[in-house]
Each structure stands twice: as structure tokens, then as C-alpha cells.
């Protein structure tokens, strides 16, 4: 009976190990850490493989020894007298002190090497992207190109990108499982992580997560990373540097709301001066504005599927069907509504708020609510109407007329927007390609 | 505290009372110790008021040494660890060691000692 029992005890392990082989193939596991696509990712993965192999060996040996002993020396009915009363064995004990020590040596050496390699100063001329954590969204800045955006990053394959991070509020953590490990995003501190996306990559998209518990919507603090070819990247940059496509006006450099604390462990390349191409572009943006559409990641592409959020719409949210919004009216409504207090739309002089995501090229984004919903009019309308019902604890107020604000625990009466106004704003924002 | 549990063996006890006896130093040592402590303190404060010395690299180390000296004199004589059962020495120095190392480690981690001794 015991024997069968022993076998049963191995069953769950068996199942799981079978699943591990499954886990190896990435396509069904979009966030797997097992097939990295950057130098850093691979450096980590090679250590992981070593750990996995050594760990498995230790596991198998120890469990085998345990099972063997337990069976071989199980008490039998005829065991009347006591077994030999040994108290220990110096040689044995020394051996099984040394063996683990040796195994650990094989882990320690590459570990330390990799630490110093991956935490060295990023190469000069790396693309610096500033990451600023907010409850619960990501602000991204490309000082080199004077771009400020939110929750979505484009990076060119083959060029080292150096993320320079700090936080506005609580601690967050920046993680793109398939490209690199995590780095915490901490107020009053500046952290770095850098890597080079493989040149072999076609245009592809990766999920990013906040992995440090940061309050109510920690689970909803996600972002998207698009690794694209250098030329696609250039085109995207040019597009982002234009002022808001709708009602274009001369481009002012985007407001930079916070300085980075001069952290002691500042290992970043100094941010290169805004390159002439960029400034030229912004000077001549009027003409650029008329130029053809800038590159954005094609959302119909198959790779994109798993990056599409599937968050269901919370119950009880309604929107009048069949309304068509007018972008022009939308701009007026937007510019006179609460929106402008928090959001910036470069080119819309009314809209200079810096506490919420920059919306200058909102129309070109794939998701809203920090990767919580797809950026489609349907979701956007509901979001504007009652963001707080769409995402727990979110700071954006509930704007829809007569909507129930779950945080203030009361209906919005004065100054609420009706569905038509919201539809107009939606039209305006989606037009900001 | 009165909260000490007793065993009823009165007899078993007497054999062990000896451990309780301590050959404390007397008045003569006590006032000398007090004098020394006072002198060191005076020296410390004095040092504090010599700008040139404060500026020199010797300032911090010498102050640390002086207060460490005071620290151990009090522990050794007034807390009569020098004369007492060695168990008490273990109970004090062990934790003190861990505490001190923790303090130093923390100062390194927050980059305070790095400037002086640590790697740049």
C-alpha cells in the first residue's frame, strides 16, 4: 500500500514537469521568460539554465536518496531489536558539506560576472528613455527627440536602449519579461536598466507589467513595448514630434514635470543633446503635418493579438448607442472641461496639465487605461464617462453626468458631461493620430 | 522583577550560590573610573572646538576611539562585566557584534562610508 502511495506522491510533480516542456514554446506563452530577445535577457537566461540544471540534479539526487532510504529501511514486523546505534560519520558529513559548496561555486562565479557586466554604464549614444511611474500609469520620455508619451514605447531593434527610472509617488517596478528583468521605479532615486533588442526581430510587440505592489490598480498598471525596425522607428519619431494632428499649432517642447534626483549610483550615459534632425523637424512641423501618416504598429497584425486587452466592461456601464461625435466640437468641450487640468495635448494651448498621461498622439495608441482596454471609441467613451468604474482607485474623476463615482460614493451632478459631449471628445481624441 | 520561578529543592541550591558572588572593585576604582571618563569627555569636547583638528582626517577616528573607550570602560567596570560570569559577556558581546556590523553595513549601503573608504 505504501508503495502505491509513494508513486501517487510523485504524480503532481510529473504532471507539472510535463507542463514545463509545454512552457518552452513561447507562442502560447506571450510573457515567458524562457525565450529572451535581448542581450540582457539572454545573459539572465543562461544563468537560469545553469540554475535549472544544477537545481534539478540536486533535487533528483536528494529525493532519490530520501525515497531509497525510506523504503530500504522501513520497519519490518521482525524488527524486534534496535538497529545499529550510529551517531554520525565525520567523513560523510564533510563530503556532503563540500559537494554543495562546489555546486554553489558553479553558480556564484557566473552570477558575479553577469552582475558586473549587466550593471555597467550603458554605452554612450544609447537611446535614453525616461520612465516615470505614476499610480497607475507609465510616463515615457525620449529627451533625445523631445517626445513625451504614456503606456506605450517604441524602440528600434539593434540599438541599445537605456531606461532611466524614477517615480512620482509610490514604488513601482518596470518589467518586460521577454526583453529584460525588472528594475524598481523609486521616488527620490534614479535607477537604470539597459539592453539591446535583437536585430533579428521583426516589428513585434511585448507586454510590460508593473511588478511592485503599488495600490488598488497594481494589476492594471501595464504597458506595451513595440520593437520596430530603425526606419519604422524614425518615421514614428517624426510623427510623434508633430504637434497634435488636429488643429495643429506651433510645437512647444513638451513640459517636463519633474527632475531626476542625482542618484549616487548614476551609471547612465549623459543624455545626448536634442539632435538637429529632431529640432529641424519640430521647426518645420507645419509642413511635416501635411506629410504622409507616420508609422504606428499595425494592430491587425497577428503578433498583436495577445497584446490586446480582454478586460470585460464592468457591469452597469451604459452608453447611448448610435451617437456620432464631432471632433471640432470635441476639441471645444475638451478644452473647457476638467480634462485640461491634468492632460497635455501639445498644440492645444489650453491643455497643459502634467499629472495625467500626455494625449498629444492619443489616436496612435493601441490601449487605454495603462493597457487595460483596447483604444476603441466604445471603450474610450465609457472610460471618459466613468473611469473609476472601469479601473479601481484610478485618479481620473468620473465625468459622465449622473454617473456614480465609486470613490466619492456619490453621483456626479453639476458639470457632468452628457453622452453627446463625450462622443465629441472621443472623436477629437481618436483624431489625434 | 519578582517573576522568578523557584524549584522547591532548597538543598540543591546552596551548591550553586557561589556563581552569584562577585568580587566587585571598591570605591577606589569607582572614582578613578569616573575621573577617566570625565577626562575623555573633556578631551572629546575640546577636540570639537579646535577647527584645524575638526578639519583633519584624524578627527572622526579619534572621536570614535575615545567614545568606544568610554563605552567599554563603563561596561567593564560599572557593569562589572570584567569581574562577572563569562556567560554575561557572551550575552552582551554577541548581540553587540551583530548590531555593530549591521550599522556599518547600512552606512555602506546608503553610500555614507563609500566616499571615505568604499569603492567610488
Amino acid at each position: 500500500m505504501k508503495g502505491k502511495a509513494r508513486l501517487r506522491q510523485l504524480a503532481p510533480l510529473g504532471i507539472s514537469i510535463a507542463l514545463l516542456t509545454l512552457a518552452a514554446c513561447a507562442d502560447s506563452y506571450p510573457n515567458t521568460t524562457f525565450d529572451p530577445h535581448s542581450d540582457l535577457g539572454r545573459a539572465i537566461d543562461s544563468i537560469w539554465d545553469r540554475l535549472l540544471i544544477l537545481g534539478t540534479i540536486v533535487f533528483v539526487l536528494v529525493e532519490a536518496a530520501l525515497l531509497y532510504v525510506v523504503f530500504r529501511y522501513r520497519r519490518r514486523p521482525d524488527d524486534t531489536s534496535k538497529p545499529p546505534q550510529t551517531h554520525g560519520n565525520a567523513v560523510l558529513e564533510i563530503i556532503w558539506t563540500i559537494i554543495p559548496a562546489v555546486i554553489l561555486l558553479f553558480i556564484a562565479v557566473p552570477t558575479v560576472r553577469t552582475i558586473f557586466k549587466t550593471q555597467a554604464k550603458a554605452v554612450a549614444g544609447a537611446l535614453e528613455i525616461q520612465v516615470i511611474g505614476h499610480q497607475w500609469w507609465w510616463e515615457f520620455r525620449y529627451p533625445e527627440y523631445n517626445i513625451v508619451t504614456a503606456n506605450e514605447i517604441y524602440i528600434p531593434t539593434g540599438r541599445t536602449v537605456n531606461f532611466k527610472m524614477t517615480s512620482q509617488d509610490v514604488i513601482h517596478s518596470f518589467w518586460i519579461p521577454q526583453l529584460a528583468g525588472k528594475r524598481d521605479v523609486i521616488a527620490n532615486r534614479t535607477n537604470y536598466i539597459w539592453f539591446t533588442p535583437d536585430t533579428t526581430l521583426g516589428a513585434s510587440v511585448w507586454n510590460g507589467f508593473c511588478t511592485e505592489y503599488c495600490g488598488a490598480s497594481h494589476a492594471k498598471m501595464r504597458f506595451r513595448v513595440f520593437t520596430v525596425k530603425p526606419d519604422q522607428f524614425a518615421s514614428w519619431v517624426a510623427g510623434q514630434q508633430r504637434p497634435a494632428a488636429f488643429g495643429a499649432q506651433p510645437n512647444a517642447p513638451p513640459p517636463m514635470l519633474m527632475a531626476f534626483p542625482g542618484a549616487k549610483n548614476d551609471r547612465a550615459a549623459p543624455a545626448p543633446p536634442p539632435n538637429p534632425a529632431a529640432t529641424a523637424a519640430s521647426a518645420a512641423n507645419a509642413t511635416l503635418a501635411s506629410a504622409g501618416p507616420a508609422y504606428t504598429f499595425p494592430q491587425n497584425q497577428a503578433e498583436f493579438d495577445y497584446a490586446k486587452p480582454h478586460t470585460p466592461i464592468p457591469a452597469g456601464l451604459k452608453f447611448t448607442p448610435g451617437l456620432t461625435g464631432n471632433a471640432a466640437r470635441g476639441q471645444q468641450v475638451y478644452s473647457s472641461a476638467a480634462c485640461i487640468g491634468c492632460h497635455t495635448i501639445t498644440g492645444n494651448p489650453m491643455s497643459m496639465g502634467v499629472t495625467a498621461p500626455n494625449l498629444t498622439h492619443f489616436g496612435s495608441r493601441a490601449t487605454i487605461g495603462a493597457g487595460t482596454f483596447p483604444n476603441t471609441p466604445a471603450y474610450l467613451a465609457l472610460w471618459i464617462k466613468n473611469a473609476r468604474a472601469m479601473k479601481p482607485g484610478v485618479l481620473m474623476p468620473t465625468l459622465g453626468k449622473d454617473e456614480y463615482d465609486p470613490q466619492l460614493k456619490q453621483k456626479v451632478t453639476t458639470g457632468g458631461l452628457d453622452d453627446q459631449q463625450i462622443a465629441d471628445i472621443v472623436a477629437y481624441l481618436t483624431s489625434l493620430k | 522583577m519578582a517573576d522568578h520561578h523557584s524549584h522547591s529543592e532548597a538543598h540543591g541550591a546552596d551548591a550553586h550560590v557561589s556563581g552569584e558572588v562577585q568580587h566587585h572593585p571598591g570605591w577606589s576604582t569607582y572614582w578613578k573610573v569616573a575621573l577617566i571618563l570625565t577626562l575623555i569627555t573633556v578631551a572629546e569636547v575640546w577636540a570639537y572646538y579646535i577647527p584645524s583638528f575638526v578639519a583633519s582626517r584624524a578627527f572622526v577616528p579619534s572621536l570614535l576611539i575615545m567614545s568606544a573607550l568610554k563605552f567599554f570602560i563603563v561596561v567593564a567596570f560599572y557593569m562589572h562585566l570584567k569581574y562577572d560570569h563569562k556567560l554575561f559577556r557572551a550575552l552582551f558581546t554577541g548581540p553587540l557584534f551583530i548590531a555593530a556590523s549591521t550599522l556599518i553595513a547600512l552606512l555602506f549601503l546608503f553610500g555614507h562610508l563609500v566616499a571615505k573608504f568604499g569603492p567610488g
Partner: protein, 216 residues
Amino acid sequence: MSAPAAHHYTTTGLDSRKIAIWAFIGSECMLFVSLISTYLIYKGRSVVGPFPHEEWVSPTGEHFKAILNIPITSASTFVLLMSSLFMVLALAAVQNKNVPKTTTGQRILGSSRLWLLATAIAGTIFLGFQAFEFTSFVHEGLSIRTNLFGSSFFTLTGFHGAHVTAGVIWLLTLLAIDYRRGLGPNDALIVDIAALYWHFVDVVWIAIFTLIYLIK
């Protein structure tokens, strides 16, 4: 105080209460190290003044002088040191209660009440200095809420002050017992325990005085 050590079987022959107090003191080391580390870690990180050793002019042009007052603190440090001397004398007096005293000198040295009282008074004076220090700091614009320095300074020294207060109460309790039934050699242990605690609090101050006050 019902259980004089001599009545018990113990493994080491030592009194359990004395072992406990030493274990407690060991633990207190970690407590104060945490406080001191925090103070030192935050040293020089306050975004606004006043500061311990430097003057500070606020953006509004207000002028704040360096906060720490070395002369006063040196005096209080000296008082606390002396209290330790009084404490050992109190213990010695209790231990030698039964030794006949011939000269007045011996009688003075042998008076446990005198020395217990002296220790308690010295402790109280130290607390008085601290109260003065705290109030004057507040007048000079440094409260526990002002900046990191204020928070860590008041908390650290406040914790030490709380320990001194507890010590004074403990001493007064012993003094009361001494008056009620007189403390003799049998009570040496409970006085010794109080003394160990008292000296430790003194020792902690020795560290604080150097690390916080003197080193700039």
C-alpha cells in the same frame, strides 16, 4: 521580590533575572542601532533646515542657526556619567549594608538611600536638560515634523530619554522599598539589575553624544 536566588536550583547557579536583563540589554543594542543608523543615514538629506551643525537661510530669507548646543549637552552628558558613579556606589552600599561603619566617610559611602536618591536626581537633571534642549530647538524652528533631521533626532534622543525616565521610576521604586524595609545584601541582586539597566542607558548616551553631537 519574593524569590531570593539562594532558594532555587539553577543550572548555572546564577539568578535567572540577571540572565534575563543581560539578554534584554543585548536586544536593546539592536534597538538603538536601528535608531542611530537611521539618524546617520538621513544626515545631510533634509531638504529644508534647520540643520545640526550648519546655519541655514530659508528661501524666504529667514535665518536659522546651527541647532545642536554642545556646551549644554556636554554638561548633561557629564551629569549622566556621574549618575553611573552614584549607581555603583548605591549597589556597593546595599551589598555592604552589614559591614560596620566607623567613620562618617564610611557612613556616607555606605548609605544606599543617599546614592539611589543621587542617581535618580542626576537622571532627572539629565531629563531636565533634555526638556530644555527640546523646547529651545522648537523655538529655533526645529520640530519633529520640520525635516528628516528633526524627525530622526527627536525620535532617537526621545527614545533614550524615555529609557532614562523608566530608569528614574525604577530607582525611585527601589528607594521606596529601601525606606519601607531597607535594602540589604539579600536585595543586592535587584539593585544590581536596575544598575545594569541604568549603566546601559548611560553607555548608549556615550555613543549618541559622539555620533550625533560631536561628529559633524
